[in-house]
């Protein structure tokens, strides 16, 4: 007679969709979709995409070799040209943030921790598969130090050397060399040759996406807004892992809808809604906490200066001679020269860019997000605050991380800030 209890009952793994991690994404997505009326219909593609990838854990398909990137500085055109697919590994999940805490000191950037946590987990979400190569541009210290850790996890990592200064000619030459060497590394990886034709096709692919993004961006110039910032962030976040062609098609469709909205005089928000510029550490799904709080409180994020959105797709490449030589160098220039990343020694360009955005988008106030532990953004706060002060623009500095614990407190601060913006507007008007 056998003991019934001796029977081994296997602990069935909880399906991903019922995991805490999926819940986090589900919760965020529900807020994004359901807290607002009049979401653009063409946004459904993106809602569905995130639901499938983040909530159901569906696989993201790709062609050729998979090249993971940890930063916008990795030239995706080159990766496409070699027939590989780039995927941005920067992660916004609190679940992974906690998992990655083992690798980094207590007070370090959530984004880096989340990325490491994701790479270290068995079940990587988004389910992209194991990258054949991870390109890690040498940007901030925390990312730099991740290289070895990622290697320790069994990934093959390529350090793409980025200079610390971007103004000097030496930096430009140095960076161009880095990019050329990266191309050589990609050749080794893929066994393909970089030709005029495939690079041109790759650049055309990115360029088409950029054009669609720029168009979307231009719709956000309109006041009152046609589309909310949370949707815009979702769109650009999808660019991280979505198929570029499909993504572009979806954005073009969205643009068409926005054009119709414009014609019909549609208002996504009240005319009085304070227009907010979002800058600082990048909001990455599911950590769209702060933009969402702003818009739930009656503000509207009209534009941003973050590497998860505007900075990723805004700057376009000009080529004089469509030869590989010139195309690669031009690409290198595009990835270095206009970059407003705070890792560089000086950052006049960021301040000029912010002021220009304030001016052209009719911005009432600025929200500056700095992840606790993201030193470079924390350090740049002062100079940016001074510049806005001088220009007479109100700015709210928010230091936060991926946890939802501070949501209530943040909500109060944001409401107060938006209220003050409204009052200002009233007095001005």
């Amino acid at each position: 007679m056998e003991n019934e209890t001796s029977k081994i009952v296997p602990i069935l793994p909880v399906p991903y969709s019922r995991s805490r991690q999926a819940g986090e994404a589900q919760d965020m997505l529900d807020h994004i979709v359901e807290d607002f009326q009049d979401n653009p219909q063409s946004m459904q593609y993106f809602y569905d995409l995130f639901r499938s990838v983040y909530c159901h854990g569906d696989e993201v398909k790709h062609e050729g070799k998979l090249v993971g990137t940890t930063c916008i500085h990795a030239p995706e055109e080159l990766i496409y040209a070699f027939g590989a697919t780039p995927v941005r590994l920067c992660n916004g999940s609190y679940h992974y943030d906690q998992k990655g805490a083992d690798f980094m000191p207590a007070k370090s950037c959530s984004l880096v921790k989340a990325t490491l946590g994701m790479l270290n987990s068995d079940n990587v979400i988004p389910k992209i598969g194991k990258p054949d190569l991870i390109v890690n541009p040498t940007t901030c210290d925390q990312k730099k130090k991740s290289s070895v850790m990622m290697e320790g996890m069994g990934y093959s990592v390529y350090d793409l050397e980025l200079p610390n200064v971007k103004e000097s000619e030496a930096a430009r030459v140095y960076w161009q060399r880095s990019v050329r060497q990266f191309a050589v590394r990609l050749r080794e990886l893929t066994g393909k040759k970089l030709t005029r034709k495939n690079l041109q096709a790759a650049m055309a692919k990115t360029s088409r996406a950029q054009v669609a993004f720029r168009k979307l961006h231009n719709f956000r110039l309109k006041s009152p807004s046609l589309i909310l910032g949370k949707d815009a962030f979702l769109v650009t976040n999808a660019y991280f892992f979505d198929d570029i062609e499909r993504w572009t098609d979806a954005v073009e469709k969205l643009n068409e809808e926005l054009a119709q909205r414009e014609q019909s005089g549609f208002k996504a928000v009240q005319s009085k809604a304070p227009r907010v510029l979002f800058t600082g550490s990048p909001p990455i799904f599911p950590n769209l906490k702060l933009p969402l709080l702003i818009e739930e409180a009656g503000g509207v994020v009209v534009t941003d200066e973050t590497c998860s959105s505007n900075r990723m797709l805004y700057d376009m490449t000009a080529v004089d001679e469509w030869l590989v030589h010139d195309m690669v160098d031009s690409l290198a220039d595009k990835y270095l020269k206009p970059c407003t990343c705070p890792i560089f020694t000086r950052n006049d360009d960021r301040i000029r860019r912010l002021l220009d955005l304030v001016k052209s988008y009719g911005v009432d106030g600025v929200v500056y997000q700095a992840f606790a532990g993201c030193q470079v953004y924390e350090m740049e706060y002062r100079s940016v605050a001074d510049a806005f002060n001088k220009a007479g623009i109100a700015m709210l500095y928010v230091e936060t991380d991926y946890s939802v614990d501070d949501k209530g407190q943040l909500s109060t601060r944001i409401e107060a800030f938006l209220e003050s913006l409204k009052n200002r507007k009233k007095h001005k008007g």
Partner: protein
Amino acid sequence: MIKLKLSAFVALALLSLNSFGEDTPVAPKRYGQGAGRPSEAQIAEWRAKRAAASEQPARGGAADMAGMPGMGAMPGMSGMMGAPDKPKEYGARSGRPKEEGASKGGRPGGMGMRGGALWLSETPPMRGDGARSGSSRGGMGGMGGMQMGGERGGVAKKRLWLRAGSDPQKSGFAQDDAEAEVATLLVTPNGNPEGEALPAADDSHKGLSFEMPVQGFYRLYLTSRKLQGDTLNVAVAKAEIANIGHGGDEEEINKALVAQRVLESAPIEIVRERKPDEKRFFQLKSGEEQAFIVLQKGLPVQGARVRFVSYQGWSKEAVSDEQGRVSFQIIRDYFPPWNEFEKRFKATYLLIADVTVAEAGTFKEQPYSNVRYQTTLTGNYYPSPDDYASYAWGLGIGTLILLFSGTAVYLYRRRRVQPYREVRFDDAK
């Protein structure tokens, strides 16, 4: 047209290459258009006869073929670099007796006045053996370098001297002859086409000066009539002066270029035939073929004996055809040492035409039965560019530098691995 010129260029280049490759002198190109080398007959034709000096023993050698300037000497550099191929008797000019003092030659030379054929000269006779500066700019039909207009002050003046004899260098002033009847006629571009008498000169009797207020060609005719036995000698000395500068009224110059050049009333004259492609600034170059037309009262004269005398005194005689046309190849007779070579050396040639006709009449109430018409024309010629300009060297140096720098650049780009540039892309197949 361009093709033709280009092929000529190549041919020329080959020719000069040839002449540089070997020591064998190549016949001057100018003497053999097509043939390349003067024929025996041509050489015989050119057998030098010193004008009005055939019996001068000092110059007997001039008839020697070996003494022919240019013959056997190359037009290129070897002639110029001071190679001793200069005819000996030219080196010993100092011993040359004064020509005008010499007795008349075998042919009646003195006509209107004492001392040989009358002609108009831009310069007074050269004294002793002092070298005349050949580089005087401007003058008969010459452009004298690329002077730009609008820089001259005041009205241009021209002074001519009446000289007698047939040596362009040393013939002395014509002596006054009381028996002769002398008349001058000046044809100006804007004046009477049949000319007007030259206003009396205010200074010495030898100079004939006039003003040239407008641009164009000025012709001066000096007619002298004198009875000698039963023959009336009619001598017409003619000079054509170009007053053409840079700038100025384009229309005026174009008009001058097509203006009539024949004096209807001239008892006899020589007209230089213009080449169809002659430009505003024309320079006759040694080695070129030049045709002249002998006219009487505007009608061509057949059978006139025409003598061409070069600057150094070499002469050639020809008889005009039914169109009154006679043609000479301008001999090269300028052979200075290289360091004294002057490419703008202006040499004067003298042309003398004679016609005798049985024509009865009276002169100063004296009857005559024959009239001997004689006319002179002076002009300038310059060294041919072939004498000093070398395509072979030009192309040689050019090709050398081209190849050298091209190879240097190629090797530099190929071999030299500059830091940061060790990876390159070439689309060249």
